[in-house]
């Protein structure tokens, strides 16, 4: 087969298969793991085997994505169902990497909590597949399919701890609200289709320009419903109500997964939809901007009064969704670059924090209060140090990736909001370092296995590395961000220039 990677013609089956290689590899891996666990699901060894197979599948898909990225794959010809650009591949890496880290953390967790659910890893793979489809979707229907694939796998994962009442509550809540959100999204798609007679993102953009639909009522209502649907998925205020309860009830690694990969996927899709299809519609800039402001402020304020660590992280992830929305609101290539960089930083710090939390929670997910961490630094200095670095990075202190991330998407409101966040990140550090241990056994049950430690160490090392040398990652983010075909925004409703800052050149 003679392939021109730079200009794949997606109407030809061969080229389409190549363009979809990462997704196809992952599908095969998921089916393989499904077969394996169907036969072998009784012992811890079986669970481990499934986990390692999952990792192998993720690696293979990651390789496929890397290969396409390395060959500079791109699409030519009429717009198709799937996008072939750097943005998609970089997002794929992010999802695959996050999933791999989640799998590594899950090994110990599943054994300790005695959650013998062999489908766990299969569902993770399918959820990841859905995310990759979302990030690569060039068509609203593919986007919806990816979203549903991801969401349905996650509804099950949220309740995968079958003996836990909180888990069942979380799964049901997530399912009901998720279905509701999907309904909004689908209705939005229908209205957009009604207005433009197409579901292809590029063609929607063309139709809007040629038909002069910039202020079309039906289109705007459809766009609004799409935003509501995405707002649910990224847990933006006021559509965030489900998030703390669901994170609280879900197994901790899954909560971490939801806070990072799921959010990242929804954001990637949102970015592509707004950038490619609706760049010419001025209405959404202001809407997204205000969503961002409200999300930042409310997320941070409610996080202040949380007493348990998991809910604190849940609200912190809501606040960070607000930060990411700032990047989306700019709707520029620089915004996309900032957004990709921040996603990487955010994923590393949040995932490591949840991994550490998973190590602390014992005996059927007792709620870990912040006070329960008192004196941790004396007993487990490395764990405390890792969690402290995560907290400082979330707060945005220099020499951590969180700082560079905050720097790239700097906005005045964000800065003020992050002052509030000092009020809840620091108490975690204070408890660990500045309060005495209540009793000698206070941290006896805390256990982080070798794999979990490796994940945390890798994440923390990544945070510090990108905090000092962000150059390469910034370049990748910039090139990938620019690969989304963003039409220049023509908007008077965008936030004033003094509130937004340039990111890169």
């Amino acid at each position: 087969m003679n392939l021109d990677f730079q200009a794949l013609d997606l109407s030809r089956p061969g080229d389409l298969l190549v363009a979809l290689a990462p997704e196809l590899v992952l599908t095969l891996a998921a089916l393989l793991v499904l077969l394996v666990v169907a036969w072998r699901h009784r012992t811890p060894q079986d669970l481990r085997l499934a986990g390692w197979l999952t990792l192998a599948g993720l690696g293979a898909a990651g390789f496929a994505a890397w290969f396409l990225w390395w060959r500079g794959a791109g699409a030519a010809g009429i717009p198709a169902m799937i996008a072939v650009d750097d943005f998609r591949f970089v997002a794929d890496w992010l999802f695959l990497g996050t999933t791999a880290l989640t799998v590594l953390v899950s090994f110990d967790y599943l054994e300790r909590e005695a959650v013998w659910v062999p489908e766990y890893f299969v569902l993770l793979l399918f959820a990841t597949l859905g995310m990759m489809l979302m990030a690569g979707a060039q068509d609203l229907m593919v986007l919806f399919l990816g979203l549903e694939l991801m969401s349905i796998a996650l509804y099950v994962l949220a309740g995968s701890s079958r003996r836990s009442a909180a888990g069942a509550e979380a799964a049901l809540k997530y399912f009901l609200l998720g279905a509701f959100a999907s309904g909004f999204l689908l209705y939005g798609i229908a209205l957009v289709y009604g207005a433009t007679a197409t579901t292809n993102l590029t063609l929607i953009g063309v139709q809007i320009a040629t038909l002069g639909l910039q202020h079309g009522t039906m289109l705007e209502i459809g766009l609004g419903l799409l935003l509501v649907g995405f707002g649910f998925k990224v847990a933006a205020v006021p559509f965030h109500m489900w998030a703390p309860d669901v994170y609280d009830g879900s197994p901790t690694p899954i909560a971490g997964y939801m806070a990072t990969a799921v959010k990242a996927a929804a954001f990637a899709a949102l970015f592509r939809v707004l950038g490619e299809a609706f760049a010419a519609v001025p209405a959404w800039h202001a809407i997204v901007w205000w969503l961002a402001v409200v999300t930042m402020v409310v997320g941070n304020l409610i996080a202040l009064v949380q007493r348990t660590l998991k809910r604190l992280l849940a609200y912190s992830s809501i606040a960070h969704a607000g930060y990411l929305l700032v990047a989306v609101a700019t709707g520029t290539a620089a915004g996309a670059a900032a957004f990709l960089f921040y996603l990487v930083a955010y994923t590393l710090m949040t995932l490591a924090a949840f991994a550490l939390l998973a190590a602390k929670g014992t005996n059927g997910e007792r709620d870990v209060r912040i006070d329960d961490l008192a004196g941790l630094a004396q007993r487990r200095p490395w764990l405390a140090l890792a969690l402290a670095v995560c907290m400082l990075s979330l707060l945005g202190i220099p020499f951590t990736a969180g700082f560079i991330g905050k720097w790239v998407l700097l906005a005045a409101v964000l800065v003020l909001a992050s002052v509030i966040s000092a009020g809840y990140y620091l108490p975690v550090i204070m408890a660990m370092y500045m309060q005495p241990e209540p009793s000698a056994e206070a941290h006896a049950g805390m256990r982080l296995g070798r794999l979990g430690s490796a994940v945390v160490a890798a994440a923390v090392a990544g945070l510090l590395f990108f905090g000092v040398r962000p150059n390469r990652l910034l370049d990748i983010a910039r090139v990938s961000g620019a690969s989304v075909r963003v039409a220049p925004a023509v908007s008077s409703d965008a936030p004033p220039a003094s509130l937004r800052e340039p990111t890169g050149r």
Binding site: F399, L410, M434, L474, G504, R505
Partner: protein
Amino acid sequence: MYAQTVLTALLVWPALAAVAVLAAPVRWAKHVALAGSLVEFAISVPLWWVFQPAGGMQLQLDVPWIPGWGIHYAVGVDGISLFLILLTTFLVPLSILGSYTYITTRERAFYALMLVLTSGMIGVFVALDLFLFYVMWDVMLIPMYFIIGMWGGQNRLYAALKFFVYTFFGSLLMLVAIVALVYLVAQRTGVYSFSYFHLMGNVGELGTLAFWLFGAFFLAFAIKVPIFPFHTWLPDAHVEAPTAGSVILAAVLLKMGTYGFLRFALPLFPRVALHPAVQTAIVTLSLIGIIYGGLVAMVQPDFKKLIAYSSVAHLGFVMLGIWALTLQSVQGALMVMINHGISTGALFFLVGMLYERRHTRQIDAFGGIAKVVPLFAAVLTIVSLSSIGLPATNGFVGEFLVLVGAFRTYPAAAVIAAVGVIVAAMYLLPALQRVIYNPLDKPENARLPDLSARELAVLLPLVACIVWLGVYPAPLLRRMEPSAQRFIETVRPAAGAAAAAR
């Protein structure tokens, strides 16, 4: 070789030493830290001779860091920062030596944090790239936060959080201002660069935006100085911090605020800074700081809190000297910055030594201890007199220059500030009297041990500086003068042009 690398070495060495401290056995931690900080001091000492007073910004090094954003690792030193660097490297070994018996828990962490803090402080003073400056400004916040929070007194959590949030708030405003400034300059020149010289050269006329940018810088630095009414974090942080923390906090960290004014806020936005309304407001706040700080210090029953409030008063002199913009006053401000570091640092050491002996800092708990601890009493007397500004001590030189210089620009303000010197005598002398003179009426004070050899080793270098700078400050003044002159020449014409245009 030395000229190229010295500043980087000063910046990196303490961080490396911190790693060594963490790796060392616990009982060796303090010795390793002391050795590391002494090496740091040894690296910095040749600066005194290598530095060319007329050479402007020198010993520069400029390496691209994040080229995509125009961020460089750029460092340099001039007559303004030179002495702050030397003050830092001089005080850190003393603080470490002074903590030998005070810090008894988690020693490795403490000494490692002290060294990391040193890196951050040096970084703030040498940075010539606004990104690097901001990074260092925040970096030194973290170790100080831990030092207060982990080894502080009863109320340490509150004090540490307050310290952090106040400073962090200011620094984030500064971050916004820095990025906005770079963006505005880039719009004009097409070059994204955080370089200090690039921004200085191209800042031009920013209109009303300059007011907001200056405001952000002002808040960040004013909280750090602290200028009244942004000072409320200071007494809490000082009182709760362990001795070494208080010393470094008073001697170096507060100077970062005034250094920020000298290096960034005024040269970048001279027209705003010297706008009559702004000028009046800042001079008024400085005077309030001088008088109010002194009056509040007068009624403090806690010796450490008394010294903390005296810092507010001393820093008021610095602010007045900077804004008076005469050669004497700016040099005086620089001298007060150095002298306050030495004298107040020494006072905090002395109070810490009292606390180690009696576990109280209440002035009432003492009295007549001069008979019991004559050496201690002698040192405390000398240091107190220098803090008051008695002639022939270092304190006199700085405050005198500020008053002389300020009298030419703001005669009324200089007169009021001179009253502040009297107030200083009114709070320190009675305290001195109640602690070391008066009858020895508390039996528990009758058996206090006098200064040990280690404590003398901490205090004698400070006393030597007090006398040296009081009698012969010329070598310092000579090295400061060209830089102070250039500072005035940068700020004044720009402001003058604005005044003429009105």
